[in-house]
């Protein structure tokens, strides 16, 4: 059973570990999922930055082409030379600007600003067209464009975010700077959608789909979705960004958890550069927050393909289960079933008498312990039987070979054959479940073999002593036998008590009185032969016994009322006859003794 227990322990450990892993695995998976989403957001944010830069490059190229228009150079040249700009000049320049914008293919700018060398706005097209003459020099993009640089920027005009590009306007003859142009594109929903078009894939897979929204502080400039997400966390996150290079915000920023109604989103924010940065311009790339994965959700997320043999080690798992099952069954058979069957077989043999005791060395573990305990009990009973035999021998004298000993006497009951050969007595340490054990069963009757030792109270199997019959008080000279010593306690063997027509007890009168109602009368020829022999002496003997018995009762303080010699003699006679007929003894000797403070009578067969 040792290895079975070890195996059970191991299986329990493995099962516990498997359950623990099953419960814990969703968490790392969820973390990996969240990390994946974060990377997805960072990638989305980075891609948007790349697309914004690419958009800036295209806008700058367009501004450069715009600034090369010859008519633009001429009007700016004239404006730069004038101390005051008038409306006529402005209208002329504005018309040129509108015409150039209209000629733009694709994404036309939302406004154009024509600037002379002094940094004054000569004309505006498409936006604030009536305003002119103001100084825009001082704006970094304008200063750079007037200096000859081509660049982009982000402006905020009337709380609207514009992506602007500036380019210098140069004259060919002579080659000189004549001013600059600034073109602006408003940040619109279409623009943001164009920045997330890449994430929509082919329309079938939405796996990498991200949303984009552009904000100016708490004001939404444009978004790919009408979802209104909470801006306060984003503003806090933007305020916490301090790196000089805003392009790195996508990598340095941690994703945020945002709410829009009941929906939750994961978002990453990134500042937008240029002048608009001072107005807290930023964009956010966000996705719907992935549902949290638990054991159930993970189980529900299992796909059919996950269970295919190519993706799941079914053979390995099957082999492991079979090996574990076989090992468990084998250990069970080896350590439990087979020893138990072996013990059961031996128990059957023990019951049928094929063996005298268990072979302890053939049983191990608990089964061996059971066998040893049973053997110990067998030995104990055998010792008791041996002791009982010795007591009988001491009481009856050694039984010669073939003669009637105590055991033979008791074995000659009605349930056993008187012709059964005598078996040698078992060794002191053994007990044999055979017919030779019958005497031991007879000893269970509590026959005090040693008269000097009064019997002690018995165990649970001890039967109650039959009450002594009431005997009338008669004068009697006590002739008590000398005490022979202390009464011995006989441990009753665990044998079923067969029906005993004749019971030897310390109170033979009671036994006789009980048996007289059911016992048949002795055969006439059996009684007849001894009757002639005893008739002359029996009466005197019975009287002698009677007087001793009455004297003993009186000595014990018992009442002798109702005890008459005739009744007493009749019982003794019946008892004697029955005993003689059963044992085939020549005579029966009655002795009076005291047991438990009461007078009792004992019948002893006389063989020779």
């Amino acid at each position: 059973m040792f290895f079975s227990k070890i195996w059970l322990f191991l299986l329990t450990l493995i099962a516990g570990a498997a359950i623990t892993v099953a419960l814990l695995l969703p968490r790392p998976a969820e973390r990996a999922h969240v990390l994946g989403e974060q990377q997805r957001l960072a990638v989305g944010c980075g891609v948007v930055n790349i697309l914004l830069a690419d958009n800036a490059r295209r806008r700058v190229d367009f501004a450069r082409r715009f600034a090369r228009a010859p008519e633009l150079g001429k009007v700016l040249y004239e404006a730069s030379a004038a101390d005051q700009l008038d409306e006529r000049r402005m209208a002329s320049a504005r018309e040129i600007g509108n015409r150039l914008i209209s000629s733009a293919k694709g994404d036309a700018p939302d406004f154009a600003m024509l600037i002379d060398t002094r940094g004054r706005v000569v004309a505006r097209a498409k936006r604030d067209e009536k305003d002119f003459g103001d100084l825009v020099a001082g704006r970094p993009l304008v200063d750079d464009a007037l200096a000859g640089l081509v660049r982009d920027d982000l402006w905020v005009i009337d709380n609207t975010l514009y992506l602007v590009a500036g380019a210098p306007v140069m004259g060919r003859e002579p080659l000189e700077y004549l001013g600059a142009v600034v073109l602006g594109h408003r940040v619109t929903t279409e623009l943001t959608r164009s920045f997330t078009e890449w994430s929509r894939g082919d329309g079938k897979s939405q796996r990498f789909h991200v949303e984009l929204a552009v904000y100016l502080g708490a004001d939404l400039m444009a978004s790919t979705t009408p979802v209104a997400i909470d801006t306060a966390p984003m503003i806090r996150a933007v305020s916490g960004l301090s790196d000089r290079d805003v392009i790195r915000d996508c990598q340095l920023n941690q994703p945020l958890n945002l709410k829009a109604g009941k929906e939750e989103y994961s978002a990453v924010v990134a500042r937008m550069p240029g002048e608009a940065q001072s107005r807290q311009a930023y964009f956010t790339v966000f996705i719907q927050r992935p549902t949290e994965l638990g054991v159930v959700a993970s189980t529900m997320a299992i796909r059919k393909s996950d269970l295919s043999p190519s993706s799941f080690p079914w053979p390995l798992l099957s082999a492991g289960v079979v090996v574990a099952l076989l090992l468990g069954i084998g250990l069970m058979v080896l350590e439990a079933d087979r020893p138990l069957r072996r013990l059961a077989r031996e128990a059957s043999k023990l019951a049928t008498g094929e063996i005298d005791r268990f072979a302890e060395d053939r049983h191990s573990g608990r089964f061996g312990s059971v066998a040893r305990n049973v053997n110990i009990q067998i030995d104990r009973v055998a010792r008791v039987a041996k002791s009982a035999k010795q007591d009988l021998d001491q009481l009856l004298g050694p039984a010669p070979q073939g003669s009637l000993g105590t055991i033979d006497l008791l074995a000659a009951g009605p349930s056993s054959s008187g012709s059964m050969p005598a078996s040698p007595p078992p060794p002191p340490s053994e007990f044999r479940f055979s017919h030779t054990a019958k005497p031991a069963a007879a000893l269970d009757l509590g026959l005090p073999l040693d008269l000097s030792r009064p019997p002690e109270p018995r165990g649970p199997v001890a039967r109650p002593r039959p009450p002594a019959p009431a005997i009338p008080e008669t004068p009697f000279a006590p002739a008590m036998p000398p005490p022979l010593g202390k009464p011995r306690v006989l441990t009753p063997p665990p044998m079923p008590i067969q029906a005993q027509p004749l019971r030897f007890d310390d109170d033979i009168l009671g036994a006789v009185s009980q048996s007289t109602s059911s016992a048949a009368s002795p055969p006439a020829e059996t009684v007849a032969a001894p009757a002639g022999f005893f008739d002359s002496a029996t009466d005197a003997t019975f009287r002698d016994v009677y007087s001793q018995f009455v004297a003993a009762k009186q000595a014990c303080g018992e009442s002798i009322s109702g005890i008459t010699f005739d009744k007493f003699a009749e019982k003794l006679r019946r008892n004697r006859d029955e005993l003689m007929s059963r044992t085939g003894c020549r005579d029966v000797q009655f002795r009076v003794y005291v047991k438990d403070g009461k007078a009792a009578l004992k019948a002893t067969p006389v063989r020779d």
């Binding site: 930055n49 914004l52 830069a53 958009n55 800036a56 490059r57 700058v60 450069r64 940094g119 004054r120 706005v121 604030d128 305003d131 103001d134 100084l135 825009v136 020099a137 001082g138 704006r139 970094p140 993009l141 304008v142 200063d143 750079d144 007037l146 200096a147 000859g148 640089l149 081509v150 660049r151 982009d152 920027d153 982000l154 992506l163 602007v164 380019a167 210098p168 140069m170 080659l175 000189e176 700077y177 392009i247 550069p273 240029g274 002048e275 940065q277 001072s278 107005r279």
Partner: protein
């Protein structure tokens, strides 16, 4: 008694006028030029977009011109009482002031006029109470007085980082802005010894140049001020 006092006051006024006229006749003019060492390219912009600014392929980039950011000041060697001019205008003409730097005499009133198309909220970085609170609307103005000399005030709109103007307060009425070539003219300079100082953007440059205005009618002094190479760095 009133007539007598009135006569005295008229006589005193006439004396002042005569003295001023005489001083004007005796004052000279200081002209000069500020020499700036060759610049090593443009200053970096306050902001940039998604792309680095790139040169055009046709013309070289125009170098940084510090002259609009400079003011020449002539200070007398011996302290003199200065009467502040009545008013100095500082016009906001769009996305910037008309001049990035102006000099204002101590006690002079400064009037900022918004000539742009956008309302602004201006404040002085060094003294929050210098400019009256409130929005400076289009065509509106705000005035204040500079009480102390040798102060530098940075005027701007916190919402518009590139909109910055500087006011330097001085204790002399002799100051001049520079043209794009660095030339300047200081009129009505009385005879005496002076030191010419140059203020650039947000700090004074060193060393100072000594100027002596001789006595005589309509004297003229020509000076050249050499600017050290590290003039952009405030020390």
């Amino acid at each position: 008694m009133p007539r007598r006092w009135f006569t005295v006051l008229v006589a005193a006024g006439c004396g002042v006028v005569v003295h001023a006229a005489a001083a004007s006749v005796l004052a000279g003019t200081v002209t000069g030029r500020v020499d700036v060492p060759a610049t090593d390219g443009r200053e970096s912009s306050l902001s940039r977009g998604y792309l680095e600014p790139v040169d055009n392929a046709i013309l070289p980039i125009q170098p940084f011109n510090p002259m609009p950011l400079m003011v020449v000041v002539l200070e007398a060697e011996s302290p003199v009482d200065v009467v502040a001019p009545p008013q100095a205008s500082y016009d906001l003409k769009g996305e910037s002031f008309a001049r990035p730097v102006i000099a204002v005499v101590k006690g002079q009133e400064v009037v900022i006029r918004n000539l742009s198309f956008m309302p602004r909220t201006l404040a002085a970085k060094e003294d929050d109470a210098l400019i009256p609170k409130g929005t400076l609307n289009v065509t509106g103005s705000k005035s204040f007085r500079v009480a102390e000399a040798n102060k530098i005030y940075t005027i701007g709109d916190p919402a518009v980082p590139h909109l910055i103007g500087r006011i330097v307060s001085i204790a002399t009425p002799h100051h001049s802005l520079l043209d794009r070539e660095g030339r300047f003219t200081l009129d009505n300079v009385p005879a005496g010894t002076y030191k010419a100082r140059v203020f650039f953007r947000d700090h004074w440059l060193s060393p100072e140049t000594a100027v002596t205005m001789p006595g005589g009618n309509r004297a003229k002094v020509e000076i050249r001020i050499s600017i050290p190479a590290d003039y952009r760095v405030s020390k």
